[in-house]
Symmetry: C2
């Protein structure tokens, strides 16, 4: 599938990309969690985690005011899968970038796990932002 | 993550692999659907589709009798992600194998789409079976 280069603004408002990105983000995070824990796991990433990471990354300003967490997380999902589809980053790199920010010993509670995930996705978004045209 | 080689029997009963495989299958099928339709889409693959493909592929006999569709689809998810994790097949190959079996013009109804998906996953499972030790 060819996805033509778009501006960050166009990417993060594409609902089809967000839907594809939702499956991508869950798969990638499940791989990362499996890797840091050391055995296979499946996980659905909470919208609030991605919305928080978007705010921390400085990309929030590309979107209109007064959006829900769900709309903000759609934007993150669209952006991340777009970067992969356009080979700005490989699956191996994404797994490695996220894993580098996550310590399995901080997974004592679900809340702790999500804090780690926010940190990791923030770091990934900052790296991704640098590779996209604004 | 290192997953040691296991027999087909062990793989398809691994619930962690099934959970990771669930995210993998949804992502892969979403990529395939995006490719055949020509624009990004997200999709969750129904358990019944994978259970049906398992029966058609000749792999049903590796599992005990009287399992639910959900348990059969877990087995498929575990098997498919195991093959990818162990580099028996690449993501590009999987997308290409599934896409070769699916015609977007048969997506007139949801039921038609799932028939196409059963055919595609059956074909993928037969190919995968050939690469695994029994």
């Amino acid at each position: 599938m060819n996805i033509r280069k778009k501006s960050i603004n166009e990417i993060i408002q594409d609902k089809g990309l967000a839907a594809l990105g939702d499956t991508y983000v869950n798969f990638v995070y499940s791989l990362v969690k499996s890797k840091v824990i050391g055995k296979p796991q499946g996980e659905r990433v909470r919208g609030k985690v991605l919305a928080e990471a978007l705010k921390n990354s400085g990309l929030r300003s590309y979107l209109p005011n007064r959006l829900s967490s769900h709309e903000l997380s759609d934007a993150v999902e669209a952006l991340l899968v777009y970067s992969w589809l356009n080979k700005l980053v490989s699956l191996d790199e994404v797994v490695s970038i996220l894993s580098s920010q996550i310590k399995a010993e901080n997974f004592s509670t679900k809340e702790q796990e999500w804090k780690e995930a926010v940190k990791a996705f923030t770091f990934l978004l900052i790296k991704t932002k640098g590779k996209l045209k604004s």
